[in-house]
Assembly symmetry: C2
Homo-oligomer: 430 residues x 2
Amino acid sequence: MDFIIKGNLCYSEGPECLMTLPGGYLVYAGGVCAGAYGELPQRYAGLPVTDYGDRLILPGFCDLHVHAPQFAYRGLGMDLELIDWLGRRAYPEESKYADLAYADRAYGLFADAMRKSVTTRLCCFATVHAPATLLLMEKLEAAGLMGYVGKVSMDRNAPEPLCECSAGKAAGDCEAWLAKASRRFTRVKPMVTPRFIPACSDALMKRLSALAREYDAPLQSHLSENPKEIKWVRELCPEAKSYADAYDRFGMLGPRTVMAHIVYPEEEEIPLLRDRGITMAHCPASNINLRSGIAPVRKLLTAGVKVGLGTDVAAGQTVDMLRAVTDAVQASKLYWRLTDRSAKALTLAEAFYLGTRGGGAFFGRVGSFEAGYELDAVVLDDSGLPHPQELSVGERVERALYLSGDCKVVEKYVAGKPILNRTDTAGNGA
Amino acid sequence: MDFIIKGNLCYSEGPECLMTLPGGYLVYAGGVCAGAYGELPQRYAGLPVTDYGDRLILPGFCDLHVHAPQFAYRGLGMDLELIDWLGRRAYPEESKYADLAYADRAYGLFADAMRKSVTTRLCCFATVHAPATLLLMEKLEAAGLMGYVGKVSMDRNAPEPLCECSAGKAAGDCEAWLAKASRRFTRVKPMVTPRFIPACSDALMKRLSALAREYDAPLQSHLSENPKEIKWVRELCPEAKSYADAYDRFGMLGPRTVMAHIVYPEEEEIPLLRDRGITMAHCPASNINLRSGIAPVRKLLTAGVKVGLGTDVAAGQTVDMLRAVTDAVQASKLYWRLTDRSAKALTLAEAFYLGTRGGGAFFGRVGSFEAGYELDAVVLDDSGLPHPQELSVGERVERALYLSGDCKVVEKYVAGKPILNRTDTAGNGA
């Protein structure tokens, strides 16, 4: 079942190195990407070729932080900061997912939007409801996406319909869900998901950490998003040396952990995050919309912390990862201008790297077209961006990132499997 | 030729007041808007009705600052600050407009994009080339847009192909163009356009100011965009009390003047700008992309300065004014968080106001659906944004602003004249 796709290839070879191959060949052989080539090596000459002509072919993007149940109210209610926003926007909407009929409708729209987007892999929050979370996993798997979904755990400081009341019940529910979810799906896997420190008791955190080890599951949560939240965590955990330490005390920081945001890391937290090998999900649009601020990405990268990008729908308004890439560049420019002149702004090549290979590393060899990587690829029609002058492939990619609303995803491969009909030309970022 | 259009109306009655009329009637009578009504008054019962069903109908948006010749390289080359960007991106591209064949191709794409966008009125920079500028005006007029276009004037600190060499020649060229342009078009009018202080000698500024009065033409330029540019102006004009004063000394600040940016106004400049009655074109995306910073819009609004929005293509990447509205909200949130906690962030209603009625005031009674306004309206199909729950018209508008890439302009009225075919469903922001 080996094959070749042909088109204008563009991918990261490293944080500063955006590689382009006009009219290049992307080879799928032996179940993985066998490399990207300007001229087809003789040994692949017999393979079937799908020729995408003048279209752009990019690696699949990896959305490291997205809340599926919040998709229903994306682009709405951006007038609040985090804690008020959770109480007045997020929790009321998430409560609806006790109703499986509503979940079916809403998660159907989310899965369809993800299918049509440039995203191939994701780390996704669901709600506390196990049945709806299984439904979401089923829909994402059917849509052809890969990645992780988390049933959210909360046993304190949450409204009644979402609060799992006791650590025992919350951990029991999580374990029952983990047992089912681990067996039922092949492309979408469960992820232990304590919402954040304020919503999880110590007793629950201990149990969740043990469950992650027992089920060999990755873990995701939120870290240092908003000043008020950080102050609250300090009050709730006077014994913790830092917000990161509040997770670390439970053994929750490790190479299979994604922590979203990290807008206000303290000096001593940074080496801890690096040494534990966690991956930061940088969510610039969300941090702006909720007035949280701008994460010091340059500082974290320089310190050696692993970083990927997240859309954080619905605090971020769109699931479009192309926009997340340029949002990251723009946010870093303002951080340089307004906060720290030593923090060089991200280049577009760096942000592209974060959105593909940087975040992709959390899923294995994902996010590039080098030999040995999984073949995740997005075929993009940029003919909605006419131009009077000649443009290089690199320039066309740059423009597609900044003006993604005018581009269309015409095909998408996830681990070598095409998941859109060739005739489907629905816009990305829906 | 009176008529009615029907649909879900949304418009500003004031900076904080976004009015919605689900299934409302927008009446065009006697050459102007005769008001928006939830129920049709008996006196209009006989007029023909175009029913847009469940679509959204918004006032036309007013782009107070856009560079037509830069449209060709929108979304490219965002790695430089203003002065370097002008030298390495803007000026080389603008030099191409000496070639009318290139201008025809490039301005054709620009006019088509403007036609399909949510913009109905604009203040537009061309280049120094009079023939190409007339061609641009012709294309915008044919596309049905209204507003002002400026042949740029520059006689110093500009590269050879764009520098008009002497104040006399530059002023003469401007006058010859003004004479032709004033007579030739009905919907698109000329605007005197000194590029900015660094590119115009005192002698040229004196002549341009006189020409604006003589031809009863409005005037546009740039003010306080970037720290390096501001420092340069201080060196070039040691006798001016401020950057604004450097224009004011030539009588260039008045109620028919648009000044783009104003990112770093000095305390004494603000009352001057208010008292002269100029309109500020706030261009948040541009100010972020070129790392200029964030303009203190709240402070200027509170002081009574008139403010509208501009896309500033190509320093801003898109001509989509819906995005400019949400960019303005987002930039103001970061300004509040990172720079000045007394500067309350813009609400979405306020930013909508700036993008329609605020900027519209520069063109007369434009930007609202109240009786007596000109009828500029955009019919928007937001069915690309599916949702599982009921949404109010206000919520749908909010979402269309944040996720404009998934909406389509299906019709647009400029001063009562429909300018898109009903079958044209090309996306906005192209």
